[in-house]
Amino acid sequence: MKPDLRVTIAGMEFANPLMTASGCCGYGEELAEVFPLSRLGALVTKSITLKPRLGHPPPRTAETASGMLNAIGLANVGIDAFITDKLPFLEKQKTRVIVNVAGSSASEYIEVCRRLNDCPRVDMVELNVSCPNVDEGGIEIGTDPLQTEKIVADVRKVFKRPIIAKMTPNVTDVGIVARAAEAGGADAISLINTLTGTSIDVNTWRPRLTYNRGGLSGPAIKPVALAMVDRVYNCTRLPLIGIGGITTADDVVEFMLVGATAVQIGTALFVQPDAPVRIAKDLTAYLREKKLHSVTELIGKVRKY
């Protein structure tokens, strides 16, 4: 019998635990040319803000050892164009749609989520309270437990479907912020967003990014992400979505063993656009080999010393 890849988060069923990570698949249009989006558990859009954003000037990405730095700057079409131009395409896709929301103030998050509440095909929102690449909002909220709790609670009043709070790793204890999100009424936690980093060109003595610093992602951050998922799994009751350098089915298994119910695939999409399809196939093979009937049997089953 084929192992069951379905997982459930906040009462909502997903075809498999593989989601795209925000900012790594646009609004799904390009990725749909690579493979049918129905192969994903969910597509997570890039961050949507109230007004359109052009983003930072180039260069805004740089390669690092086993990863990348980016300071795209939340370039996006804004909520109005998202609903009129981008959502109709996503509504036709046979996958869960999770819209990532960012803002420079609490009122911006609330307004965007209020409008998304009127779009029934948006299954969940993911609150990006953790982007390191904007001057206002973003990470400032996500490093402060009180602000995090308040913004989740405020969004809770206007968005009636599940809310995911996306954690920044750039804090002393991610568990405290996760508990604050739980207290505010979040239904799930996704973690981690990128780690703040930079890189300097030794010939020009200039940073490789015009924003001077950026967010580090890719396999380089996987051990940090795993430790943080483990930490949050042991201090909240919320389902977790693991993010950070996931490239292979083994990576997915690791994240699920330390407590993730699902995972998001980000930077790996840039290197292998069909990574989720390949990972799903390998994950099925892994479960067969381990004689497991369901992928959920992995969740939190790490055997610690």
Binding site: G23, C24, C25, G26, E30, L31, E33, V34, F35, L54, G55, P57, P58, P59, R60, T61, A62, E63, T64, A65, S66, G67, M68, N70, I72, A75, G218, P219, T267, L269, F270, V271, Q272, P273, D274
Partner: protein, 264 residues
């Protein structure tokens, strides 16, 4: 099969054109018939320390043997590793990607403006035009480099029969000066009927070519290069500003843009 499925392809021939310039033939590759001049491939280097793919313009296509050729200059870690590849080594090829050049109309004269490592896509375009029956003498092929060693594959260009105008900054080969200066000087002395420009090269050269074309009212296209994590439009890492406002993705809306379209 999705057009974004990558394929492991062997290196079938290696040539070192100069200390810095190298040519690799890759193949057989199943996508060979889909390639158009101006497009690029995104090369993954399996089993290397290089994480991202590297965008490489296509320099030549041999549909008979199913091989493409890339010609590149060593700039950083990725190209250095690639320059050490041998026949039989394997690369992971994604593509062909991006918008190709628009072919010229029959009555147009082509002004090719190549600078250094901007040469490969223009060589592919010229080869294809000639192979499809265009009179090679309607192609003015300007090709500039800093020194003689930066103007590679001269013999192959000459074999096409195009009107070859080599230029070097130091005058060690061809005429002395900048390639765009040579184009302007040539046009001064030789009125060209219905010119159409195709330019590819370093940023400064592209800006000068774009400025010149706009000044003289010459239509045409420029081919850009940018750091490109994904190559298929999702990461937004390779954007360039447009003259009309906003950004365009070099990998998706480009790498070929109309003269005057991009704020260079």
């Amino acid at each position: 099969m999705s057009k974004y499925s990558s394929e492991r392809v062997p290196v079938s021939r290696v040539r070192h054109l100069s200390p810095n310039y190298h040519s690799l033939k890759l193949g057989p590759w199943s996508r060979i018939n889909e390639c158009r001049p101006g497009q690029f491939v995104h090369l993954g280097l399996p089993d290397s320390e290089i994480y991202f793919r590297r965008a490489m313009s296509i320099a030549a296509v041999d549909t008979g043997s199913g091989q493409i050729e890339i010609i590149f200059k060593v700039f950083g870690r990725g190209t250095r590793i690639l320059s050490g590849y041998h026949k039989g080594d394997v690369v992971d090829v994604l593509g062909p990607l991006g918008v190709p050049f628009t072919p010229p109309r029959q009555n147009e004269t082509c002004l090719f403006v190549a600078g250094g490592v901007g040469f490969p896509p223009l060589f592919y375009l010229a080869s294809r035009l000639v192979a499809r029956g265009r009179d090679p003498e309607t192609i003015e092929f300007f090709y500039g480099g800093r020194t003689s060693g930066e103007v590679v594959e001269r013999q192959r260009i000459r074999q096409l029969g195009v009107r070859f105008h080599p230029v070097t900054d130091d005058g060690s080969f061809g005429s002395k000066g900048l390639v765009t200066e040579a184009v302007e000087k040539y046009l001064d002395g030789h009125p060209v009927k219905r010119p159409r420009m195709y330019a590819c090269g370093p940023d400064g050269m592209l800006k000068a070519a774009d400025d010149l074309a706009r000044k003289l009212g010459i239509p045409g296209e420029v081919s850009l290069e940018a750091p490109m994590p994904c190559g298929f439009g999702v990461c937004l890492g390779c954007v360039v500003p447009l003259r009309a406002g906003g950004h365009a993705r070099v990998c998706k809306e480009g790498p070929v843009f109309q003269i005057g379209e991009v704020l260079l």
